[in-house]
C-alpha cells in the first residue's frame, strides 16, 4: 500500500514538538514538582501537597504585589492602546514619509530591556537626569528613588515610551489594509471623521487590536527587567510587581516551594485572562 502525504506531514511537526517540550513542558513540570514539595536545600524532598498554594494565596504580600501588578497593567493598557491607535491614525498611509515613520516607531522596540531600564534610570535621576532636572526645574518636587508616586510615574512613562510603538505598528497594519473604496464610500455618504473611525477603521482594526492588547497584557503582566533596573521594586515595596516579588522569594530567600506555587498561580492568571479576553473578542466577531 502506498504511503500518503498526510502521514509524512507529521514528520515536519516533530521539531516543534521537541522544541515546545524542552522550552515549556519540562521546565513547567520542574516548577510543578517544586510547588508540591518541601525541601531543606540538601536535595531531600518531602510531600507538601497544596500547602504552598494555600500559603501564597493567603499571604498579604502576594495580595499587595498582585494588586500593584493589576494597577500597573490596567494603567499602561489604558494609556498605550488609545495612544497607539491615535498615533497610527495620524501616520501617513502613502508616500515617502511612510518608511521614515515606521522606522522611528520601531526604534524603541529595538532597544534591549535592561538598556531601557538603565536609560530611564539615568534620564530620570533628580540631580543629573534630563527629565529629573527638568521636572525639578519647573517646580515639581520630583524624586523617583524616594517618592512612590514618582517611581510609579516614571515606570509607567517608561513603559509607554517603550511599548506604545507596538500598538502603533499593529494598528497601522490594520489601517492600511482597509481598501480605499471604504473611505470613498464614507466620503460619499457624508460621514465625518468620528463616524469613519467608529464604523470603518475601528471595526477593521479589531483583529489586530485584539492581538495588540493580548500581547501588551501578557508582557506588562510579566514585566521584570526594565522595572528592576529602574526602581528595583522600590522605594520600599511600592513598585514591587509580581515578577519582582517572585524573584525576591525564589532567589533572595530561596523559598523554592512558595516561589514555585506563586509561579503557577501567576501563570494560570495570565492564561485565564488571555483566554477569556480572546474568547470574548472572537465570539463578538462571529455575531
Amino acid at each position: 500500500m502506498n504511503k500518503t502525504v498526510n502521514q509524512k506531514a507529521w514528520l515536519f511537526v516533530v521539531p516543534v514538538v521537541l522544541l515546545v517540550a524542552f522550552n515549556a513542558i519540562i521546565p513547567l513540570m520542574t516548577v510543578v514538582n517544586y510547588s508540591v514539595q518541601e525541601t531543606f536545600g540538601d536535595n531531600t524532598f518531602f510531600w507538601a501537597g497544596v500547602l504552598w498554594f494555600e500559603q501564597v494565596l493567603n499571604s498579604e504580600r502576594f495580595h499587595d504585589s498582585l494588586m500593584r501588578q493589576i494597577i500597573f497593567t490596567a494603567t499602561i493598557l489604558a494609556i498605550e492602546v488609545p495612544l497607539g491607535v491615535a498615533i497610527a491614525l495620524t501616520m501617513p498611509r502613502k508616500g515617502v514619509w511612510v518608511p521614515v515613520c515606521l522606522v522611528l516607531m520601531a526604534l524603541p522596540l529595538l532597544i534591549p530591556w535592561n538598556v531601557v531600564g538603565a536609560m530611564w534610570n539615568i534620564f530620570a535621576l533628580p540631580e543629573i537626569g534630563l527629565l529629573g532636572r527638568m521636572l525639578n526645574g519647573i517646580g515639581f518636587d520630583y524624586n523617583f528613588t524616594r517618592q512612590p508616586e514618582d517611581a510609579w510615574f516614571t515606570l509607567i512613562l517608561m513603559d509607554v515610551w517603550h511599548w506604545t510603538s507596538l500598538v502603533v505598528l499593529l494598528s497601522y497594519a490594520g489601517l492600511v489594509s482597509i481598501p480605499d473604496a471604504y473611505y470613498q464610500a464614507a466620503k460619499i455618504d457624508g460621514a465625518g471623521g468620528w463616524a469613519i473611525f467608529r464604523h470603518i477603521q475601528l471595526p477593521k482594526m479589531k483583529r489586530v487590536l485584539t492581538i495588540a492588547i493580548l500581547l501588551r497584557f501578557m508582557d506588562s503582566f510579566m514585566i521584570y527587567t526594565e522595572a528592576v533596573v529602574l526602581t528595583g521594586g522600590g522605594p520600599g515595596n511600592s513598585t514591587t510587581l509580581l515578577s519582582i516579588d517572585l524573584v525576591k522569594i525564589a532567589l533572595g530567600q530561596f523559598d523554592l516551594g512558595p516561589a514555585a506555587a506563586m509561579s503557577l498561580i501567576y501563570f494560570l492568571i495570565i492564561l485565564l485572562v488571555s483566554w477569556v479576553f480572546y474568547t470574548l473578542m472572537m465570539r463578538n466577531e462571529q455575531q
Binding site: 481598501p179 460619499i188 455618504d189
Partner: protein
C-alpha cells in the same frame, strides 16, 4: 438629479504631461442628460475608472471642468456633489445592521429620525432588502451587500447621479442576471441618472441607453447599443463589442466597389472611399455573414455549438472569418461561399469608418 457636462476634460497622473501617452484621459466633451442610463465600456487601463473618479470628485482633473446642471463642481468634494457610488467589491459597514447601513447617509446629514425611517423602508422595498433589515450587514451574500451599497445611494433624495464601478464582479453568474435586471428596473422606476463602468459588454449594452466606448484614454465612440452594434465607428468598437467580435479583413476599393481577395463584396460605404486609398479594411459582424450560392469562397474549419446558435470558423486566402448560424441550421462540410449583408458591411480606413466623421477625437 442632474444633467452632467464634461467640458474639455483631460487628466494625467504626471505633473507635467508632454507626450500623448502621458495622458490617462485624453480630450473629452460629453453631455449626459438628466435621468439617463449611461455606461463607460473599455478594457482594463482604458481610463474609465479615472473618468469615474473625476465625476465623483475623488480626483481633480488636470484640465477642464465638470458641471452638474450647468454648475461647476470641479472643485467640490464628493459629499457635496450629491452622488452615490457602488464599488467593485461590496462596501458595507460591517458592524451595522442593514437598516443602519441604509440610514447612515441620512443620519450623517442630520435628517430627522422619523423621516429616516420612512425613507429607509421605502428604499428597502425597492431593493428587496425589507426581509433583512434587522440583520447585520456583514452576514449578507455579495449580491445582498451590493444592494445595500445601491440602497445607501438611493436613500438620499438629493442624489444627482448613481455610479457603478464594475458592480457585478464578485456576483455569481446566475445571480448576475437577477441583479442586472434589478438595476435596470430600478433605473426605470426612480429615474435618476446612472453611470455604469465595466469591461463587460453585455452588462454595458443591456444597462445603458448610451454607451461610451473607451480605449487608451480616448473615447472611441458614443452611441446607443444599436449604433455600436450596427455601425461601429472604429474597428476597435467592432472587435470589442459583440461576441465574437466583428470580422476585419484587408480589402481594396475601386469604382465604388469593395473587393476581398479579388472577390467583390458589397459594403454600405464603399462609394465614399477615395479612389487611391491604401490599407483599407472591411468590417462585418459574424451576425451579418451567411452561407450563399455565390460570394467569397472559404473552407469551414471549425463549428462551435453555443446552444442557441453555432459559431462557424472559416478560412479564406487572406485569413479567417467567423459567422453565426442559427441552432439546427445546416452547415456545409468543407468548402462554401459567404455573403455579407451589405447594409451592415463597412469599409474602414486606418481603423476609422470611411465616410463619417471619425469618433469623438
Amino acid at each position: 438629479m442632474a444633467k452632467i457636462t464634461l467640458d474639455d476634460l483631460r487628466h494625467s497622473y504626471m505633473p507635467n504631461p508632454t507626450a500623448e501617452d502621458d495622458w490617462a484621459l485624453k480630450q473629452l466633451d460629453v453631455d449626459w442628460e438628466d435621468g439617463g442610463a449611461y455606461a463607460l465600456l473599455g478594457p482594463s487601463g482604458c481610463g474609465k475608472t479615472t473618468l469615474l473618479n473625476i465625476i465623483s470628485g475623488l480626483l481633480r482633473p488636470s484640465h477642464g471642468r465638470v458641471l452638474f446642471d450647468g454648475k461647476d463642481v470641479t472643485d467640490l468634494p464628493p459629499d457635496q456633489r450629491h452622488i452615490a457610488q457602488v464599488f467593485q467589491f461590496p462596501v458595507v459597514y460591517d458592524t451595522m445592521t442593514v437598516y443602519d447601513n441604509l440610514a447612515f447617509p441620512l443620519r450623517n446629514r442630520g435628517v430627522a429620525e422619523a423621516d429616516v425611517d420612512k425613507r429607509v423602508r421605502e428604499i428597502a422595498e425597492l431593493t428587496d432588502l425589507t426581509e433583512t433589515l434587522n440583520v447585520r450587514a456583514a452576514g449578507l451574500t455579495a449580491d445582498g451587500k451590493q444592494k445595500i451599497s445601491l440602497g445607501r445611494g438611493l436613500v438620499r433624495t438629493d442624489v444627482n447621479v448613481v455610479m457603478f464601478d464594475e458592480p457585478l464582479t464578485v456576483i455569481d453568474p446566475h445571480l448576475k442576471w437577477q441583479l442586472r435586471s434589478k438595476l435596470k428596473e430600478l433605473h426605470q422606476r426612480v429615474g435618476v441618472t446612472m453611470i455604469y463602468v465595466t469591461h463587460d459588454q453585455i452588462e454595458a449594452l443591456t444597462f445603458a441607453d448610451q454607451v461610451v466606448v473607451m480605449n487608451l484614454g480616448e473615447v472611441v465612440q458614443i452611441g446607443t447599443p444599436v449604433d455600436l452594434f450596427e455601425r461601429p465607428q472604429h474597428t476597435f468598437v467592432g472587435h470589442f463589442i459583440g461576441s465574437p467580435g466583428m470580422n476585419v479583413m484587408p480589402c481594396e476599393v475601386s469604382g465604388g466597389n469593395a473587393y476581398v481577395n479579388g472577390v467583390r463584396v458589397e459594403a454600405a460605404n464603399a462609394h465614399a472611399c477615395a479612389a487611391d486609398a491604401k490599407g483599407l479594411e472591411i468590417g462585418v459582424r459574424p451576425e451579418f455573414v451567411s452561407f450563399a450560392d455565390d460570394g467569397l469562397p472559404v473552407r469551414v474549419t471549425k463549428v462551435s455549438d453555443a446552444g442557441r446558435f453555432q459559431i462557424v470558423d472559416a478560412s479564406h486566402d487572406g485569413g479567417s472569418i467567423k459567422l453565426l448560424v442559427a441552432e439546427g441550421d445546416e452547415i456545409p462540410a468543407d468548402t462554401a461561399k459567404l455573403k455579407f449583408d451589405s447594409a451592415h458591411t463597412q469599409v474602414y480606413d486606418g481603423g476609422w469608418i470611411v465616410g463619417a466623421k471619425g469618433g469623438a477625437a
